[in-house]
């Protein structure tokens, strides 16, 4: 009985279905690809393990950052324009920027917003390259340049 009654009101929580990836700003909500994975380590793209220290980057760091930017493009742009916020803070943590340099990083990327988000159709790869370039040209933060 209760099944019959409640069913009409029910929103079936669906698995995320693989969607064509959209690049650029303003796609909030067009969720990207399905990580219906248990074998997260074998494809190496979605690892929560931390790379410690700014200079300790291994090959996986870049792929992880691209994936994070792709999945958080709008919120990241918003946070960068305000030089703060959870998405930007997560980016710097994944990037490997320590807490004491976070503010400097945030202010640097805010000041260069237009160079990071060069158009509303910018891709996540381009955003990372632009961020990395800006970091590499900063006297203080250049040590965090990704290889």
């Amino acid at each position: 009985m209760k099944k019959l009654i409640a069913v009409a009101l029910f929103v079936l929580p669906l698995s995320n279905v693989m969607a064509a990836p959209n690049e650029g700003l303003g796609f909030r909500g067009n969720s990207h690809g399905g990580f219906q994975l248990f074998n997260i380590t074998t494809d190496g793209t979605m690892s929560v393990s931390t790379t410690s220290g700014p200079r300790g980057h291994r090959g996986g760091g870049r792929a992880r950052l691209v994936l994070f930017i792709e999945g958080n493009m709008d919120n990241l742009a918003r946070d960068i324009s305000r030089s703060g916020g959870e998405t930007l803070s997560t980016l710097t943590a994944v990037w490997g920027v320590p807490v004491e340099d976070e503010t400097a990083f945030n202010e640097l990327v805010q000041a260069n917003f237009s160079e990071v988000f060069t158009s509303e159709n910018v891709t996540s790869e381009e955003v990372l390259d632009n961020l990395n370039h800006i970091v590499s040209t900063d006297v203080h933060l250049a040590v965090y340049t990704l290889s």
């Binding site: 929103v11 969720s31 380590t41 324009s81 997560t90 945030n106 917003f113």
Partner: protein
């Protein structure tokens, strides 16, 4: 001597025989006992069944090592032990089986004598080190403000990594249980298959930011996060069982075996003393998931993630009318003259314009092209102001969902009518919340009653049905400076109306649409234009329609007291009476979380008029 030897040999062999048989008897016996232990039944997701004693909810042959495993936990236990012992298996096959079922292995290893060694599974270890799990968090998105049916909602888990030096919740893993639908099905097939459980359900992992975006940003639902009080061993047991459930499908039902239920069936494997699923009162409701965990004292203090709409409203409250007017113009494309204001003001105006534009575009489903140019311009303008955000974040609400009343309700009432008739009533509501129930832990201005039934008996011993509402819902989100909200409501079922000499039964359905103003945490008023269709004794079993209005005001006096004035006035164009109406004055006094006293005075008019006085004691469970 030879004789003696022979005797001794016989004695020894019979002793051994005795020993062996008694031991094997004891073992069989203890294996039977182990197979009936709740932890083993939980590992196999066994439920008491009709045809056989047990039936597993897992719908996947590969999850069972015995061909009878789905219905026979004993056979499955014996097959599991045989496989772990390596009977008829190569060492590689034995190891593969162990690594497929690490939770069974770890548990059985301490239950029976064995020489199995310890877990040695490289893939599993890689997976565990990638998760780097420290704690598990239960994630509970609350209801949509304007959709009470989402009260049922969804729950998921988050696996928090050990490195807590930085704010990295967004990249933690979410564990989600959901149905996997067939994309080719049309909506009718989809609804039907969902109902009968034809779509399989399964666990999946995804980055938590995806879920935050889905609930916080897109659906604008506040999220509550409860870290669970599990120690390292308990976290490991849960994850090992999650590993066993990879690629395993469950029959997916909307109600019985939904996401909340499956998450509990996973979490209860944290230790042997937990039994979270069998006491689950109304499986559909995520707040009951929270309650089930609270009963075992497993919840830490919750953490609150405000929804997009909550943040937007909070920002607007920090702006003056004049500033909001500038925001409106800036949103529409006007340049902000930054020399007119202080930098903090400019930053606030530009941020608000960006957020509001995005909120509207989502709400109205605008195409990306229509807003992306303007919103990017707003971000660029904002980035030129060298400040962090001037807005204060929304405050965490005082009461969180686990503090709310339970979802089912039982009531006993005493009723006195103006014709001096006394009745004693018994009422039951399956779910969930009405506007007079204590609002702690529930979103304000949303009512949803499912199957709300009341019967009564009078002094002469005559019993009758007073009311049977299949559904009774009302959503009254208030209008404010930034949200143009509409209220709506609907009701369907049976009740009694004042008739000559008696109260006649009425079957009806009613719907309304309108507006609400005020503050749901103080005084809120609403008015809906309404339409109804009536039949039953009161209309002499004809179908009679009515048009009119449903309106009311609710006053939250304090946390434990609420009063309401409600009216339903309906014009009956083609009936023997011109109109009918009902006026209610209610006062609800919450004695504690799950007990309340409610008094009601009702004036009712249809063919005749009646005044009813009613006192009810409610218990929520």
């Amino acid at each position: 001597m030879a004789m003696n030897n022979k005797n001794i040999i016989i004695s020894i062999s019979s002793f051994l025989l005795f020993l062996f048989s008694s031991q094997s008897f004891a073992l069989t016996h203890s294996w039977d006992a182990i197979a009936q232990e709740s932890y083993w039944l939980q590992l196999g997701h066994y439920q008491a069944a009709v045809v056989s004693d047990w039936k597993s909810e897992v719908d996947e042959d590969s999850f069972f090592l015995s061909p009878n495993g789905k219905r026979n936990p004993n056979a499955e236990l014996l097959a599991t032990i045989a496989a772990f012992n390596g009977e008829n298996l190569s060492e590689i096959e034995r190891q593969a089986t162990i690594c497929r079922f690490p939770a069974r292995f770890n548990w059985l290893k301490h239950k029976i004598k064995n020489n199995w060694g310890s877990l040695d599974c490289p893939e599993l270890q890689q997976w565990q080190s990638a998760l780097d799990a420290d704690t598990i968090t239960l994630v509970f998105p609350t209801a949509f403000m304007n959709n009470p049916s989402s009260m049922f909602g969804h729950t998921l888990l988050r696996i928090d990594a050990k490195d807590q030096t930085r704010n990295k919740e967004l990249v933690a893993f979410a564990v989600n249980f959901a149905a996997v639908p067939d994309l080719d099905d049309n909506p009718v097939t989809y609804a039907y298959k969902g109902l009968v459980g034809a779509y399989p359900g399964r666990f999946s992992l995804m980055p938590y930011y995806r879920k935050v975006q889905e609930y916080n940003d897109l659906e604008s639902r506040d999220i509550w996060e409860y870290q669970l009080k599990f120690n390292a061993d308990e976290v490991e047991r849960v994850l090992l069982h999650l590993w066993e459930l990879q690629s395993v499908y469950f029959d997916y039902y909307f109600i019985d075996e939904n996401c909340s239920y499956q998450l509990l069936s996973l979490l209860q494997l944290a230790n042997e003393s937990l039994d979270l699923t069998s006491s689950f009162p109304m499986q559909a409701i995520p707040s009951d998931t929270v309650a089930a965990l609270k009963n075992y004292d497993l919840l830490q203090e919750p953490h609150y993630r405000p929804a997009f709409g909550t943040k937007l409203f909070n920002y607007s409250e920090q702006l003056s009318d004049e500033e909001l007017n500038i925001v409106r113009r800036v949103m529409d494309g006007e340049d902000l003259n930054i020399s007119d204001h202080k930098p903090e003001q400019n930053a606030a105006i530009l941020e608000m314009a960006y957020e509001w534009l995005n909120f509207k575009s989502q709400e109205q489903g605008l195409s990306r092209e229509t807003v992306v140019k303007r919103s990017t311009q707003l971000l660029i303008a904002r980035s030129k102001i060298k400040l962090t955000s001037p807005f204060l974040p929304p405050k965490q609400p005082l009461s969180s969902p686990e503090q709310g009343h339970a979802s089912s309700r039982l009531g006993v009432s005493f009723t006195h009518t103006e014709h001096n008739e006394k009745r004693y009533n018994l009422s039951y509501r399956l779910a969930y919340h009405d506007l007079l129930d204590q609002s702690s832990g529930f979103i304000p201005g949303a009512k949803l009653s499912l199957l709300d039934i009341e019967t009564s008996i009078n002094d002469a011993g005559n019993t009758r049905l007073e009311q049977a509402y299949l559904i009774d819902t009302l959503a009254i989100p208030v209008d404010n400076r930034i949200f143009d909200n509409w209220s709506w409501g609907g009701r369907m079922g049976f009740d009694r109306q004042a008739d000559i000499q008696k109260e006649s039964g009425r079957w009806f359905t009613q719907g309304g649409y309108g507006k609400s103003i005020g503050d749901p945490n103080y005084i809120q008023a609403y008015m809906l234009g309404a339409f109804e269709l009536n039949t039953g004794d009161i209309t002499d079993n004809d179908f009679k329609m009515g048009v009119g209005s449903e309106l009311g005001a609710i006053w939250k006096i304090n946390n434990n007291n609420k009063a309401a004035l409600k009216a339903n006035i309906m014009y009956l164009p083609d009936s023997d009476v011109d109109y009918h109406y009902q006026l209610d004055v209610d006062w609800n006094w919450s004695l504690d979380r799950n007990w309340a006293l409610r008094s009601k005075v009702r004036y009712q008019k249809w063919r005749a008029e009646d005044t009813i006085l009613k006192f009810t004691l409610y218990h929520y469970f």
